[in-house]
Symmetry: C3
Subunit: 139 residues, 3 copies
């Protein structure tokens, strides 16, 4: 059984955001899958998806702080600067964190650890709505 759908995530401010419920609420089809996987791709190269801690908002704040330190907007060595200081740094963060995640499905639900959730990592100052393609494969 293969199910695929494209959905649009609500615009988010720059930073790391827990979107597990926003995804689940649009995929009731998942309840029909006993075991399988869900693949989620974000169709943009300046935002990313990752799995991380789902409880304490300070984790998401610290992620934003850290990635701004490690990919500095004031670096003088970037060529690709036409669209602003948050452009090239967003491309880099996107490849460091990744454009897609894959999650096991068990008994109709994401089979994540108790403390894990899905993050949308919005790297642009004004990223707007973001599209994701979700593919469910299972039986």
């Amino acid at each position: 059984m293969i199910f695929q759908k494209e959905i649009i995530l609500k615009p988010k401010p720059r930073g790391f955001h827990l979107i597990t419920q926003e995804i689940i609420s649009q995929f009731s089809e998942m309840t029909n899958i006993s075991r399988g996987i869900a693949h989620i791709l974000i169709k943009h190269s300046s935002a990313s998806l990752t799995i991380n801690e789902n409880a304490d908002p300070s984790v998401r704040n610290d992620m934003e702080t850290y990635f701004n330190k490690i990919v500095p907007e004031n670096a003088t060595y970037f060529e690709h600067t036409l669209e602003g200081l948050d452009d090239m740094t967003s491309h880099i963060k996107s490849s460091l964190l990744g454009s897609s995640i894959t999650i096991p499905i068990t008994n109709g639900k994401f089979n994540l650890g108790v403390w894990q959730g899905i993050y949308l990592c919005e790297h642009r100052n004004h990223g707007g709505s973001r599209k994701v393609v979700v593919t469910l494969i299972g039986e």
Copy 2:
């Protein structure tokens, strides 16, 4: 053909560990798959999985050294510090390296390069046992 199982990895000290054999030895079901994929997710946000060099232990040592440099525990900008200095840094390393890997299966075996193996990256000082969910999809 879809096969899924959750297994518990033996506790490992902080660092990078080759676990290819520990995984394979628990998945005899793989021998029934001519072609397909194996997806492996670690159900924790302070450890990670990656694919890298499978021969020289100095690679795993250098990985640990490098990630400690690039995600420093003495950084003063982290808020999420209640569980110790190795807490927030572990979450960051987890997203830099990734919570899951996907490997092709060919003729009943992982189809990796000759020099590739699976690493468990244990970022906590005392991480304990780690759970992984393995999903095999193939024919």
Copy 3:
């Protein structure tokens, strides 16, 4: 429907290279898949695959510049140095960026964003030909 094939990519100089067309041109089988996923693994631990911006070459240049800054070849803390200064740094870049990518397939084509493409990231000075295994799963 599962289709799997190993292909050899043309040797590339060190740096980030757009290979979307080089992959597509060797997978006419994809046109038979209405919906599914493509998994691509590079069988080497000193090169990697990522998805990023597909238009402006300065993005690929800036990626190379950035990863050389963040994983410096003149670091004195590496043990694994027998094969040259670009050896251990290539292993690290490989795990930061990742050995494999998964892309949705829709109506016979990769379902990527308009501005997304597949990068081969060649981290060695003389990497030579690189092998990838592509697995298509769909219906």
